[in-house]
Subunit: 412 residues, 2 copies
């Protein structure tokens, strides 16, 4: 029989009533002839409660104990969905990460899946016609046998990895939106739902601020060629919409130049003025940040007014802003700069599309359009299939709408 993986997030399993609704979606797919593995998140709010306790217990908490505590949320949901499925007459059982097993690296709190043995789940399909309800977000440390979690949003990754392990035909990620949009519909009412998005585009969108899928789940789907749908758990279970298919570029017939506009408010900008312009100065700035595990994104270097020195501007995640400033001020004697300026009222706006590969001047049109609206660009980065601009946060909506229209993404 064909196999299907279905993943349901926290809002889709927030209470027993919603879990019953999930069971209806599962029942439909079983009726359609699929062996089904369901991956579930914790009931919404539960993970935050558990994380809150960990923080209250210890400021610098042991990630292995954090994982033991936090993974319990998914354990509960898996058991409850199995109960609800059984109650609806559908054979089902729950699987914890260590029971499957889903083997992970030892980076607790953000572990990577190393290997999944899908044989026990497949045996459940074949011997007992059983739906496998699998706790998302968790696995077991290959070396120590301790519970390891995959980091926030990790259940998406669990789902895609399980789909690859059991060679599922499809992986359906059910969420509270009905697919992937050209941009956030709350900001641009004319945003359109996309029928298809290329893996590469989805990867950029997820990396650049679209919250619909975890980045690593998209990487995995791309590597293992897992046909992945993003769709709504709030559709009528008897008559659902197909959602958005994440697929190979070749499977997208009518390719747009730009597929979507993403934005991220989680950015902060740091500028060092009058940095001594000598070899090794970039290393002096960025090595201590790398050692502190701070991701530096956009970097711009311009000659300063003062000869023999440059100004260096770059962005870091907003959450790391204060730490970044502290580290750099501490290293000021080694680096050698006159002053440090920072801003966290900035936003990074990105346009993504595999069509950029074959079209020149895509970004230039954006710069012009933004300039016409009086929006000052503070930094730019580009790659093969996307470009990003850093602007003042107050212009977020205006800039997103401008680019959305510019590239013909508005709904008719």
């Amino acid at each position: 029989m064909s196999r299907l993986v279905m993943k349901f997030g926290g809002t889709s399993v927030a209470n027993i009533e919603r879990i019953r609704n999930v069971a209806r979606h599962v029942a439909r797919e079983r009726k359609a002839g699929f062996d089904v593995a369901v991956i579930v998140s914790a009931m919404s709010g539960k993970t935050n409660e558990l994380v809150g306790w960990c923080r209250e217990a210890a400021k610098l908490y042991d990630a292995r104990e954090y994982d033991a505590v936090v993974s319990s949320g998914e354990q509960v949901t898996a058991g409850l969905l199995a109960l609800v499925l059984q109650d609806a007459g559908i054979p089902a059982r729950s699987w914890q990460g260590w029971q499957v097993p889903i083997l992970t690296s030892d980076s607790h709190g953000s572990a990577r899946i190393l290997d999944i043995d899908g044989s026990a789940i497949i045996k459940g399909f074949e011997a007992r016609g059983e739906v496998a309800v699998i706790s998302g977000f968790q696995g077991v440390n290959k070396d120590t046998g301790r519970i390891a979690t995959l980091g926030r949003g990790g259940s998406d990754t669990s789902a895609v990895a399980i789909a690859a392990a059991i060679k599922a035909d499809r992986c359906d990620i059910y969420t509270d939106v009905d697919g992937v949009y050209t941009t956030d519909p709350r900001i641009v009412p004319k945003a359109r739902r996309l029928d298809r998005v290329a893996f590469e585009e989805m990867l950029e969108m997820a990396s650049l601020g679209a919250k619909v899928l975890q980045v690593r789940s998209v990487e995995l789907a791309m590597v293992h060629k897992v046909k992945t749908f993003v769709r709504s758990s709030f559709d009528d279970p008897e008559n659902p919409q197909p959602g958005t298919l994440i697929c190979d570029e070749e499977d997208i017939v009518e390719q747009q130049v730009v597929t979507g506009i993403a934005f991220s408010r989680d950015e902060a900008q740091v500028t060092l003025r009058q940095v001594a312009d000598h070899p090794g100065v970039a290393a002096a700035i960025f090595m201590p940040l790398a050692e502190a595990n701070i991701n530096v994104d956009m970097i711009i270097q311009v000659a300063s007014e003062d000869a023999g020195s440059t100004d260096m501007t770059f962005t870091v995640p907003a959450a790391d802003f204060e730490r970044t400033k502290a580290i750099l001020l501490k290293a000021q004697p080694q680096i050698g700069f006159a002053s440090l300026h920072g801003a966290n009222d900035v936003v990074k706006i990105s346009a993504i599309g595999v069509g950029m590969r074959s079209h020149a001047g895509v970004a230039a049109r954006a710069f012009k359009a933004l300039a016409e609206k009086g929006i000052n660009i503070r930094a730019i980065t580009t790659s093969e299939i996307k470009f990003s601009v850093l602007i003042e946060a107050a212009y977020t909506e205006l800039a997103v709408r401008t680019l959305h229209s510019l590239y013909g993404l508005d709904k008719a």
Copy 2:
């Protein structure tokens, strides 16, 4: 080094503040030179929440899934206590039942512990000076590898079993009372805390309604000769009281005839009138109840006024009262009785003491004292070290106080 098991119940770990208090008790014992294994229950209220969800999910729930859901409560507490201990500078790690492992039978929801491999925990003591924080109430099904719970109060059993497995010097059961009392102090203000109770007495007290320890934990302690203390987690961690020692009869110097008075309101009385008095009638009554897993306790048979027939009175757990009536009425043609009468406004009051073995007439004094207070005895059972009377529930307090004074248990 000497080893110690400490067990903390739900109210002792109800929030992070109380868990910090638990850590102080652990710190004291470590300072005193013990390697410590701590067994924890779920935070109070959590198990009820989880059980409520299971019931909402499915009326007739799969005990295996119930166990997966409900065991998560202890998992959370174990991780949190490990975090709090680490935060206080004490090396610690959490152990789930399947990690120890604690192997159980397959009777999910009320599994029996079959075997515990204490070697990993002992290695943690010896190699890393690590406190082992173990989730109570749970183990792993020896055959299927699924999580199995031990039934309500199972954490006491976990604690005693772990103590036996790691050959602990002592097992301290911390609770919200400071020991075992001669009777419930809420009913008899003159109740006294006992310094020592014999295993056999504690077993009877637990079976007969004293809620301080789970029956099976006392059985285990008795079989494995685990020196067990019942003590308070709300004592000053720097200067705690010793609590009550559960120990061998020989270790109790000054033996009382009666050690304690227990009472249980979870009883219901059933009377069948004019039962045909022929061989096999008792089997006809009690076999169907046994098949329905209903525990019949006190049984009295008296000749009825109608010659050739008897009246049969017995007690069942109050929770099984309705089922009992339904089963008997269905079997009325086979049994042959005129009418069924039932009452659940009854209470069973018991006096317990190993001294009864060597003293005659202990129960007779009680019958006289109760009669003098105008309390009607509906049924009596006796065994070597206890006797119980069934009386109308309205007389509970009066009867308990009467017996408590009668046997010299009142505080000076």
